[in-house]
């Protein structure tokens, strides 16, 4: 079963095609890794799927419905949510308020304040942030801020989660914890697409990897296949 289907997706910035005719399928329940050198178009691809930008060409289908051209808030309420590469929590709000906002506004069905607050508590427990519930989000460590962003995304009850470099800037212990968390999220039945530079994470938890270079997909396969692929090695290490 496909949950996301992308065909011929193209986005120009000036004369440069940041994403050039990408075709992509995401299967329900998998963890798909998206890698590639800097400037390959990974984040732009996320921006297109989540509705930040409208594509110049191509179509995006989420669970059979066309979502290209829809606003980010509408896409979120359909069950597709993303996190940001540079962490974007609401710094002057408490951790609880951050996550509560996701539960109040992002979920497909409208909730009362009480229901949303109860769910927020549950999610904070799940990601291990209960003790910071009333702390200002901006005063947390980077690793914990990233957890807040993840919790806020989870509060919108997504079926597909796009994680943009969730592990960048974390120390080895924190990376381990984050990997654990991602696996647990998948076990809840949420499909995940993740952009990542931390190879240890990508190789260990992804079922499938797609390699992007200059806006195009140059390789696709299991972690083992991709890591031995000639083109991929060339792109990363040079000829």
């Amino acid at each position: 079963m496909q949950i996301l289907h992308v065909e011929g997706l193209t986005k120009y910035f000036g004369g440069l095609a940041a994403v050039a005719g990408v075709d992509l399928q995401v299967e329900k329940g998998e963890i798909l890794g998206l890698i590639g050198p800097n400037g390959a178009g990974k984040t732009t691809l996320f921006n297109l799927i989540s509705g930040t930008y409208a594509p110049n060409a191509g179509k995006i289908f989420f669970d059979g419905t066309k979502i290209s051209g829809m606003k980010p808030n509408a896409i979120c309420r359909k069950g597709l949510v993303r996190t940001f590469q540079s962490c974007r929590v609401f710094p002057e709000m408490t951790v609880f308020q951050n996550v509560l906002l996701g539960a109040l506004f992002g979920a497909p069905e409208t909730k009362t304040w009480h229901q949303a607050a109860a769910e927020t508590k549950e999610i904070l427990d799940f990601v291990g942030l209960s003790e910071f519930s009333d702390t200002r989000a901006g005063s947390l460590t980077l690793a914990n801020q990233k957890r807040v962003e993840l919790a806020r995304a989870l509060a919108t009850k997504p079926r597909l989660l796009l994680l943009d470099e969730m592990m960048a800037g974390l120390n080895p212990t924190e990376v381990g914890e984050a990997m654990e968390l991602v696996t647990q999220i998948r076990e809840k039945g949420i499909t995940i697409v993740m952009i990542e530079h931390v190879m240890k994470a990508i190789m260990n938890i992804c079922n499938r990897i797609i390699v992007l270079h200059r806006g195009q997909i140059i390789a696709e396969g299991t972690p083992a296949e991709v890591s031995t692929d000639k083109t991929v090695i060339e792109v990363y290490l040079g000829e």
Binding site: S50, G51, T52, K71, P72, N73, C76, R77, V81, R82, F84, R88, V89, F90, P91, E92, M93, T94, Q97, L100, L101, G102, L104, F105, G106, A107, W113, A116, D134, R136, R152, A153, A155, T156
Partner: protein, 325 residues
Amino acid sequence: MKIKANYKKYVIPVIAILVLVLLIALPYFAERSDSRYTIVLFKTILMFTILTLSWALFSGPTGYTSLATAAFYGVGLYTAGVLGRVLPLPVMVLCGGLASFLLAVIIGGITLRLRGIYFAIFTLSSVELIKHVLHWYEITIAGGRGRPVVRVPDTTVFYVLLGILVLLIITSYLLKRSKYGLALSSIGSCEEAAAHIGVNVVTLKVFTFALSSFFMGLAGAIMATGMVYIDCFIAFDLNYSFFPTLMAIFGGMGNIVGPIIGAVVFTYLREILITEFPYVYMFIFGTVMILTIIYLPNGLIGLAESIRRKLLGGKHADTTCRRVN
């Protein structure tokens, strides 16, 4: 501790009700002491308080600095000029608010995709645009500049303004406590993230902008009745855009009390300065504003907070969430 916390909860409502009672009784005392000026002064104070608080209703949490206040206030004034003789007072005032609401939906729809300084400039230009289009219309098509306004006794105007202010305070309070209040702050904090977790940022911004303009329009429609004559240069005076913004900064925008205190102190200060130092009043005013922005970035309320914290000896950590503008 629990008792103390409970008791604290009632301090502000009790003060508010006391002030309200005093204000209701004010015209009675003013009449007995035969001081018409008192009512006129309080009319001005109430008017600026309404403009400031309604400005802060939208611009406070979202961080969008609107300078279109004069447009909405002016539309209120003109509504009174056009409909004042046709409709009964309450209906006419309501029409002023609705006209401003509609105008704000249009202006907001066009300009709220802009951020920061661009939004400020566009809203400011909208005042000028309306002013000059109206002027052109009056001179070339309608033939004759300005129009007379029906007069209403000062005491009536005072009570209507007081009613509008009470309604505005209740609205601000309910909005702040609702989920939309939280969403508005998230827009001010990071609009992109807000949109991506499901907040319909466009609709929320435009609606709140229009709601705040509704109160500006109400204030304009009732204030016109004390003016005898209005034209577009009186109605769309840019000071009505600048003063509420400055007053809100002066008072502090973190809560509802800040803009109110800012407007009251500022308006009173302005009245004293105009009468006592008519030639240098703008100079003194500017100096006060610059000092406020440098030394009191959170306004008078921020100053009060820090004094209170000092007196308590820092026993309570600062856990309040305040925007840093």
